[in-house]
Every structure is written in C-alpha cells, then in structure tokens.
Symmetry: C2
DNA sequence: CCTACCGATCGGTAGG
DNA sequence: CCTACCGATCGGTAGG
C-alpha cells in the first residue's frame, strides 16, 4: 500500500532504458544528450533523473542488464544437458535469436562500455568473461582430445567474431534470416575446428 | 622556393591525424575534444584548424585514408596473381598484419563513421564495399562450383567478423601473435567452407 | 514533477 | 597579399 505505483515505476524505468539504448546506439554515449532522451521518452529531463541517478547509470543499466540476459541463456542451454556438438549448436542458435531483438543493446555494449567508471566497467567485463568462458567450454567439449590450452579463448573469440560482427551488416528485416545465419556459422565453425586443424602439436590424434 | 615548408606541412598534418585517431579511438568522436587533441599534439587549437577545417574533417581523413590503405592491400595481393586458395590466405595474412599496426584507425572506422555527414559517410562506405567485394570474390574463387549467390557477401562478412573482432580482444603485445591468428582463422575458414558445407542445393558436387 | 537556471566546457574564430 | 601561428574569447549547449 505504501507504494501503489510500483508496477508503473518499473515499466516507466524500463521504457526509459530501452529508449536510452536506442539513442546511445545511434549517436554514441557521449554524442547523445539527456534532453534528447527526455524528449524521446516524452518526459521532462528532471523526471529522467528521478529514475536514473545520472547518464552513466543508464549506460550501466543497459550493459549490465543485457549481460545478465546473455548469461541466463548460457545457463538455460546448459540445463538442457545436450551432447557437446548439439550444445554448441544450441548456444549459437539461441544467441543469434537474442541478437535479432537486441541490436541497440549490443551496439551500446561494444562501443560505450568504455565510458563507465572503473568499478561498473569491471562488473560488466567480468560478466562478458563468464559468457566467453561458457562458449570456450562448449567448444572444448566438442574436441576434448586436441584443443591447445592457448587456443581455448581465442577459438571462442573467433566464434564470437562471426556472430557479433553481424551487428555491422545483418538486418532483422533483411533477406537473410538470423536462424539461417546461425546455421551457416555453426556449420563453418564445427567443420573449421574438426580433426587436426588449427593445431600442430602432439596432442592431436 | 615559394613553399619551402611543404614537407613539414605534410608531416605535421599526418602527425595530427595519427593523434586524432588515437584520441577518437579512446574516447569516441563525440567524447574527444579539440582542446585535448591540441594538447596531445603540443600545438594551439587554432593551429589544428589551420590544418583541418573542422573536427569532422579529421574524422574523414582517418577513415578515408585507412580505407585507401586497405584497398591498396587488396590490389597488391591481386597483382601477385596467386591461385585462389593462396590468394585468400594472402589477403587474410596481409590484413592481420595491417591490423596489428592500425588498431586506433580501425576502431574509429567501426564506431565513429556514423558521425560523418552524409556525403563523406557514403564515400567511406563505398570503399568498405569495395574491400568486402574483393574478399567475396577471393572466397568465391576458392569454391567456384557451389557457392550460393545469396551467401557470397554473408560469407565475406563472416570472415571479416573473425578477423575484425580481434580489435576487441587481441593485443599487439599479447601472447598470441597476429600472424598465428591469421593462420588459425584461415585454417578454420577454408575448412569451414569446404565441400558441401553451408550449402544445401543442387549446385553442390 | 515543472520552469528556471548553474558552472564548465564544447567546437570554432575573432583581432593582430 | 600570402603563410603560419598566437592569446583570448565568441555563441551555444552539455550534464546536472
């Protein structure tokens, strides 16, 4: 009873975060103004500051919340208990599905995290590390015998390159579907890391 | 005799462009100030404006000049007259070598081209299209029989993802050498697109 | 939750 | 009349 508008509060807060993600993605964090954002949201600038302490707090909300979503996906897929190759396929597929609806959030994550203060930036980077680790593990499990330890993370980053770079060219309303892209990427990557490739030492079978 | 300091002029101009690339990469175009740049260069702000009309002109110089460099590399490799697979290997290798020394330029290209006015942005994007086309052609030549037309450019973008994403994680002074990364990427990609993969229609052999 | 403002700094240019 | 360059400050706008 003390806070009858709690639901509305959260909805309003989230709507502002979505609008901020869109604006930051378009103009960059430094290039976007709080006045523009207030206008987009149809509220006054002071009201914006009622929901978020400052501009950077909006940025942190976007990046941190998005990373929580990506970490949740890795956990959901892990809970399915799939065999290694199906597991990796599922990870790639689920991520591409998420990307299709999170273009703004992802662009903010890539280009604007550097504007966060040290403590907040470290929190976000640590969550990114968790996601990379989930992929590195999934990759390693498909080729348990040969993967060189030094290539564990680089292989994951190569895979992330293939799917994350789509933010520069793939459009949700374009001719190539995200699901098809996921299939193509999965095929290329699994074939690419198959027996003996990318590995020259004695651990190979 | 009329312009005895022409050489100095070009050197000074280029030094400013390098410093601007570094600063824009670190703080973003909108987040970097001309005062900071002038200080970094050890010159007055008005002198900066003597060499470059305005802030955006610096940005255009960085992006356009860098694209000229990348286009030149595709032309140099093409002039070698290599067989298809060696040609693609050479392209990847030469690009990774260039990337090792052009981190700032590439980050500016990816994150700040949106700040260019329409005409300048279109000029840069057109040069990017030329580089993508050079890669798409090189890829298609390695698998002349089966590559679906709809995947021509997407395959090139997948390859660019693998090498361009390195700007988010690979360090020139890190444990993994750029040359080794080029080898790993080339291996994965060539294996990945080998016979029948990523293609389900009758054109496959 | 608004109008009305602030200290500071922005990109760009004046006179000399 | 050109270039190369300075100290100081312009009109506007940023985050708050």
């Amino acid at each position: 009873m003390a806070r009858p508008r709690a639901d509305t509060f959260e909805l309003q807060r989230d709507a502002m975060l979505q609008a901020a993600a869109q604006l930051f993605a378009e103009r960059g964090f430094a290039g976007a103004s709080m006045a523009q954002l207030a206008e987009t949201c149809g509220v006054s600038k002071p009201l914006l500051y009622h929901y978020y302490r400052d501009k950077e707090h909006l940025l942190f909300g976007i990046a941190d919340g998005y990373m929580d979503r990506l970490i949740a996906i890795t956990a959901e897929v892990r809970a399915l208990g799939l065999d290694p190759e199906t597991h990796l396929r599922a990870l790639i597929g689920r991520f591409m599905q998420e990307y299709q609806h999170s273009q703004a959030h992802h662009m903010v994550l890539v280009q604007d995290v550097k504007f966060l203060a040290s403590a907040e930036r470290i929190r976000v980077v640590e969550k990114q590390r968790q996601v990379v680790e989930a992929f590195a593990q999934a990759i390693a499990r498909t080729r348990p015998r040969w993967t060189r330890k030094t290539l564990r993370v680089p292989l994951a980053m190569i895979l992330f390159g293939m799917i994350n770079w789509t933010f520069t060219w793939l459009r949700p309303d374009g001719p190539l579907a995200y699901d098809d892209m996921a299939d193509v990427v999965t095929e290329i990557f699994l074939r690419g890391i198959s027996r003996r490739s990318t590995d020259g030492d004695g651990e190979a079978e």
